[in-house]
Amino acid sequence: MLRVEHIYWLVGAFLLVAAFMDARVKRWSAAAFWAVLSIPFLFGDAILAAAQSGVRWPAQAMGVGLIALGVLAARGKLRTHEESPEDDARRRASASKFGNPLFVPALAIPLATVALVLAAPHLRWNGAPLIEPTQATLISLGVACIVALAIGMRITRAPFAESLREGRRLLDALGWAALLPMVLATLGSVFASTGVGDAIAAIVGATIPADNRFACLVAFALGMVAFTVIMGNAFAAFPVMMAGVGLPLLVLKHGANPAVLGAIGMLTGYCGTLLTPMAANFNIVPAVLLELPDQYGVIRAQWPTALILLAVNVLLMWLLVFR
């Protein structure tokens, strides 16, 4: 059976290749960075299984590795590769030569992912499912990348090594920004286990006039946004704000409909996701990927949508939760 762990091994192998390529040109800190980062992908299952059964040293070593990654990230600079006019002309000629078939591999990633997700329940090998059902989307995405690469190499007649070189070029251009989402999610777990959420919910709960249901609603909505901005993730904010404000004040005291409050409350948190650099994979990584000089460029493009939608959400909740 194909498990998501197998896809992680592929990621780990790719990171090791990038480390090796950097080491060959004596970019030692970049090489060390990618090599350390490959560890959770190659040994993630083993680390988590050991921690479950009470053996803590692998997880602790990974913790040391994470601190090392932080130091390496601060030392290395983001490398923006120089574009020469010849490169530009060569690519334009190549675009005209290959034509629209160039789109095929790029579109094959989403299309093959969909096809595999839909086919997954029917794909069986010796009676067992071929793709682990609980992680079907992620496994399908991984397989689709390989399919797309095979098609791409066929169309462009480029050797496999070239795709690795180009992949590593993009990876080096991303640099520490590639790692940021993982580090932020880790911080979210640390905040959750050290009681940061409870402290914030207590502060919000202590400062609002509990008898005014509109004030409670606004406090809940703004609390969702503020907490999402801090944690970078509405999922982390939801249980905290719901337990601190939504459930005791709005649902139990003022009789709000929990289904409506839950659904629109979560989406109000998403407005916060659009606003925060802490949601790095949505806001900072694309800014680096698109080579924007301002790392907050994507947030600048979406904050008006987020604020208007926040107001609409408060209005929707006001109209719908107390019916």
Binding site: Y8, L10, L37, P40, F41, G44, R56, G63, L66, I67, A74, R92, A95, F98, F103, P110, T113, V117, T137, L138, C145, G152, E166, G167, R168, L170, W176, L179, L180, M182, V183, A185, L187, G188, S189, V190, S193, T194, G195, V196, A199, F235, P258, A259, V260, G262, A263, I264, M266, L267, T273, N281, F282, L289, L290, V298, R300, T305, L309, V312
Partner: protein
């Protein structure tokens, strides 16, 4: 209640405000928060290590880089621009609004990982948006960068405000589990259908903003032509 772990939040705010390296800031914030809560060094390292390893799914997108890099070297982004030039009626607003609609509908069916910044925005949507914006009159570098950012923002809005309509999405299940643990039993469908009004509002608001950006581009063009004529 122990309020000291909030120091970690202060470290994040200060670090981001001072534009220090975000990875280092976040790692330090985690250590500060853990130490302030009275956690031992061994416990803190184990917590950092296990959380880090459990969140490795967030780097899965790197698997798209070899094929996207290869295609870019062969001129994928240039081809995306040439392709847009062939559709004279596909304006910036039509391009981005139809992408927004498609992204929301796909997310509603749970297919939110099929598009994304690495897979679709950088190689396809961003160059197409730039080219569509520059169709009738050349645009300056700042506008070009704003078009790229708008393409990324459109992807985010489409993804976020479609996915909660999908029944099996983790967000809906999280809401259901939370209420369940509090003795309030809800069907996932009862929650998911209330995400529809916000999904529609998100489409209308962001769609109108895109149309507005296009209007402003169009309004600048006569001015640009006038200065050209004056030369």
């Amino acid at each position: 209640m122990n309020a000291w772990p909030l120091l970690g939040v202060a470290v994040v705010v200060a670090g981001f405000a001072l534009r220090r390296n975000p990875v280092l800031v976040v790692v330090i914030a985690g250590i500060v928060s853990g130490v302030a809560s009275g956690m031992g060094v061994g416990d803190l390292l184990a917590l950092l290590g296990t959380s880090f390893a459990s969140n490795r799914v967030l780097l899965l997108f790197t698997l798209t880089l070899p094929v996207i890099g290869l295609l870019e070297r062969c001129g994928l982004r240039e081809r995306a621009r040439q392709w847009i030039d062939g559709f004279r009626r596909l304006s910036l607003a039509r391009l981005l609004v139809s992408y927004l609609a498609m992204r929301q509908v796909l997310s509603m069916f749970g297919l939110y990982d099929i598009a994304g910044h690495a897979q679709t925005v950088r190689p396809l949507l961003a160059p197409m948006a730039e080219q569509a914006a520059a169709r009738d009159a050349p645009i300056d570098e700042a506008t070009r960068l704003r078009m790229r950012a708008l393409a990324a923002a459109t992807d985010n809005v489409g993804r976020f405000f479609g996915e909660d309509v999908f029944l099996a999405f983790a967000g809906v299940l999280l809401i259901q589990r939370f209420f369940d643990s509090q003795g309030i039993h809800l069907e996932p469908f009862a929650i998911a259908r209330w995400a529809v009004p916000t999904a529609i509002a998100a489409f209308v608001i962001h769609g109108l903003r895109i149309v507005w950006v296009q209007r402003r581009l169009a309004r600048r063009k006569p001015a640009a032509e006038a200065t050209d004529a004056a030369r």
